[in-house]
Each structure stands twice: as C-alpha cells, then as structure tokens.
C-alpha cells in the first residue's frame, strides 16, 4: 500500500526537521516512496517549511530525478552518454521499448515500469549500464537488460 503524501511529508519532517535546507531530503523521500511528487505533497511541504508552493515546485522541476507526473513503481534509468552509446546502448533501449511498449520517459499502463534515459551514471568502465531502482546493472546486452526488467515486481 502506498502511503498518502501528507503522511510521508509528516514523517520526513519528523526525521529531518522543517528547515529550508531540508527540502531536498523531504522531496527525495516522497519521490522515492511514490516514484513521483504529487501536488498534495508539494503543498504539504510548503506549509510545513514556510516556503511558497511555487518555490517548492520550482525546485522539484529543476532536478531530473524528481517528477511531477506519476511514474511506474520501478524506474529504469539507462545511461545515454558516450561510453555506453559506443557499447550498444541504443540496441538495449530499443529492445526495452519493444518489449515493454513504451517510449523513453513513458510508463506502462499497469504502472509497473518507467524507462528513462539519463546522462552518465559513472559506470563507463562496465558499459553499457543502467540503474534499476537505484541499483546498478552493468555490461548489459539487450537480452540481459530485458530479463532484468522482466523480473521486477
């Protein structure tokens, strides 16, 4: 069961406090639990921290890992920088798109999966690589990548 955003925010405030400098931590917490940051969470954070809603929203919209659109419970981030591209990133992306029927930054209808591309994730020595819910997966082939994603809950 997903918790409601206000509850997560309240939890976060207990954990980190409500100072402005805790904003990234609060947002990260919501973003990790829900895969995205709903407006209700933004409002709750604004209220608790005394930052205006627009300013909280502005921070959310700045960072690539935050999303104001619902995303899947599993997030795949495939590296799109040169070392991975030179080792076959495009075939992997194509294989994933074909198998799961979504475009980059798309989410499957069942809400299970979002696939994103992202700049260098610092795994160039083991390219091509991706992060799945934050965990690294390296030396990918199209088959291997699809298998990993298939196995997700």
């Amino acid at each position: 069961m997903l918790r409601n955003p206000e509850e997560i925010v309240a939890d976060g405030i207990r954990e980190f406090g409500n100072g402005r400098e805790r904003l990234m931590q609060l947002l990260t917490k919501v973003n990790e639990e829900l895969s995205w940051i709903p407006t209700t969470a933004i409002e709750a954070i604004a209220k608790a921290t005394g930052i205006s809603v627009a300013e909280v929203y502005s921070v959310v919209s700045f960072y690539s890992f935050f999303s104001t659109e619902p995303r899947g419970r599993n997030i795949v981030r495939l590296c799109s920088t040169i070392s991975c591209v030179m080792t076959g990133q495009d075939e992997i992306l194509k294989a994933l798109m074909d198998e799961f029927g979504i475009e980059p930054f798309g989410t499957t209808d069942d809400g299970r999966l979002t696939i994103e591309t992202t700049p260098c994730i610092g795994l160039c020595d083991q390219a091509p690589a991706m992060l799945v819910n934050g965990e690294p997966h390296v030396k990918l082939t199209p088959e291997k990548a699809c298998e990993i994603v298939r196995g997700l809950g």
């Binding site: 402005r20 400098e21 990234m24 690539s64 920088t81 030179m86 260098c120 160039c124 020595d125 934050g134």
Partner: protein, 401 residues
Amino acid sequence: MEKKVLLAEDQPEFGAGFELALTMSPADVVYIVRDSGIKGRGGAGFPTGIKWNLAGAASSDVKYVICNADEGEPGTFKDRILLEKYSERLIEGMAIGGYAIGSSHGIIYLRAEYPYLIPAIEEARKNMIDRGLLGKNIRGKGFDFDVEIRTGSGAYICGEETALIESLEGRSGFPRNKPPFPVNSGYLNKPTIVNNVETFCAVPHIILGGSEWYADLGIGDCSGTKLFSISGDVEKPGVYELPLGAPLKDLLELAGAKDIQAVQVGGASGRTIRATEIHRSLSYDDLPPGGSVIVFDSTVNMLDVLENFMEFFVHESCGQCAPCREGTLQLMNAVEDLISGDICSEESLNSYFRLAEVMRITSKCGLGQTAVNCFVDIINNFVDFTGECVSGECCCERGDQ
C-alpha cells in the same frame, strides 16, 4: 607507470592521518597541505591549502566541510571507486579538514546516481564513531566532528560547488555569483570548504607522508598522484592511479588503447586531442586532468560524439545565464546541421566559433565556459570540410552545381 597511493594495496590504517593531525595545531595542518602543493581533484585545480587557509582565517563559530561526491562529468567514475572502498579515508580527510579550519560539520553531497554507495559510507562513519574518531571531544582534544550524507537528484550542475551549496540549502542548483566565495560565505552563509572526494582521500596520506614526500610523487612541477577513469575503446577500462604530470601515453598503454583516433581528457568539458598528441602530459599546465579519459578508435564518427556531448550540455545547463542557456542550444543546432549536411563549410561556422569564445568568457560558471571545448576541439581536429556536400540545400550551395 602506475604509482598507487590512494589505491595502494598496503595502506596506512584508516584514521592514522587524522590522529597525527590532532597532535598538530590546525594552522600546521593547513601548512602541510599547502606545502604539499596538492590542487583540487574535482577539476578546477584550485590549491587546496590556500582554500583551507582562507576558510580557517574566516571568523565564524560555525563552518562547514563539504565533500563534493556529485561526480557527474561524463566518463568519470574514480570517486565511485574511492567511495566503495575508501569511505573511511574520505571521512578521515574531511575530519582533518574540519580540524584545520575549525569546523565540526561535515556533509557528503552524493549524486543521486550512487545510492548504492550509501551503505558503505554509513558503515565507514560507524566504524569511525566506534573508534572514537568522530563525535564529541575527539581524542580528548576538544574537537567535535561528524558527517552527514545528503543526496542530489539528477543535476550535473550541482557538482559546481556553489550550485551544490544551493542544492543543500533546498534550492535549485543555480550557481552563485562570485564573490563571495564559499570560504567566506558558503553553506548557510557560513565559511565552507568544498573539496572533491579524491582531494579529501589524499589528505591523510599527505599528513602521514609529509608535504615533501607528496610533492615528489608527481612529475615535474606537479605534485602527488591522480586517479583517472578511462573508458571507451580500451581493453581494460577502469581507474588507474598515476603520478600527476605523467604522459597520457602511459595511461593509454595501461588501459590497452589501440587504433586511437581521438582521446578526450577531462570529460565532456575537457579537451579532445588527436592520436598524434598523446605524448602530452596530464597536468594542470597541459591537459587539465579531470577524472575522465575517453578513447575513440578510428571507427567512431566524432560528430556523433560531439552531438552526444552537446545534448548533455543542453540538458544540464542550469539555464540562468544567457550565453550558456541559449548558447548550448545554438551549438547543438550547429552540430545537427553539420551532421545533416546543412552546414558544410568552415566559414558557415564562423558565428558559432565566435559564440564559443563568448560563452567561454561570459558564462557565469564552469559549465558554460567549458561546454564549448568539445565543440571547438572536435570541429577543429576531426571534421573534414573538403569532401562532397551531402545535402542539396547546404550553406555553400556547392550541392547545386
């Protein structure tokens, strides 16, 4: 050849450098670091001792020690290796920094792409606490220090130290106008030192080995060793530790590079050179040694590489200053035109070269200033304008004839 200090199999015990530092005066610690000649390993190469000296001299009850673990430069992964295996060394280095400048608060700003490193860092912290090397009144010296891990959320620009501070303060990562510099007014407007993971990791070695020993590790005027992440068309990609000032050639040999067309040193914002130039040295005076080296063999179309990098900069420009926000977009546009053949002569690129120079000298931060390097280098070194025009509607209209 490799010279392993930070990555040595056989290293001094974690914490030994800090314990030794605690027997000295903070000022002496700063002097040792300064005299070692170490320059920041995060890319900008600012002398660490001078930075610490300034922060130490700033008067404030509260100061901060921030470790920049936002490693985002394409092709760089050396800090990842250090964090995986040497987090204790890192925290030790931060504690020494805290002692040196008079700060009790350490923050590690870890990029969001490395969440799986958090357990290792936490464990390192716990070990240090268990051994009495973090916490209150460490070793009875009346010095308190602890570190906290904070994460970014997918923004390369937050590697720039003032953007990083903005992010820590709960804002978008817009680099600040400087001055004031963080050493005077950084996190929460308090004096702050921001250093790279590798810089902090080197500090305990410097304290233990002494400044002269460290300085002598480098070649020529360079001091110390440096980690390089190498990837691309090489047999053995990975992280290598070399004396600073070593020729690029040595590194390429170690990693097994063959059929070299181009080498990019310092990541997307570094320089891209031809195979004929690999004798050049990895030093602040020659090829600025960021963390990253990427090798491209003769099969690679360098315009595709350039496009990939320009996409990166368009995506990662924070957007606040006009030359970078609009300039990266224009350069990207030019690259696309080059690829499609809509631009086929060097003259047509004239305004873009003018733009590149203006971006270099007017952008607010390093991103915009260096985003132009790959454009200038790749076009100058790897694009041949003598061939046939591919498009019928290109700039020179040669295709019409």
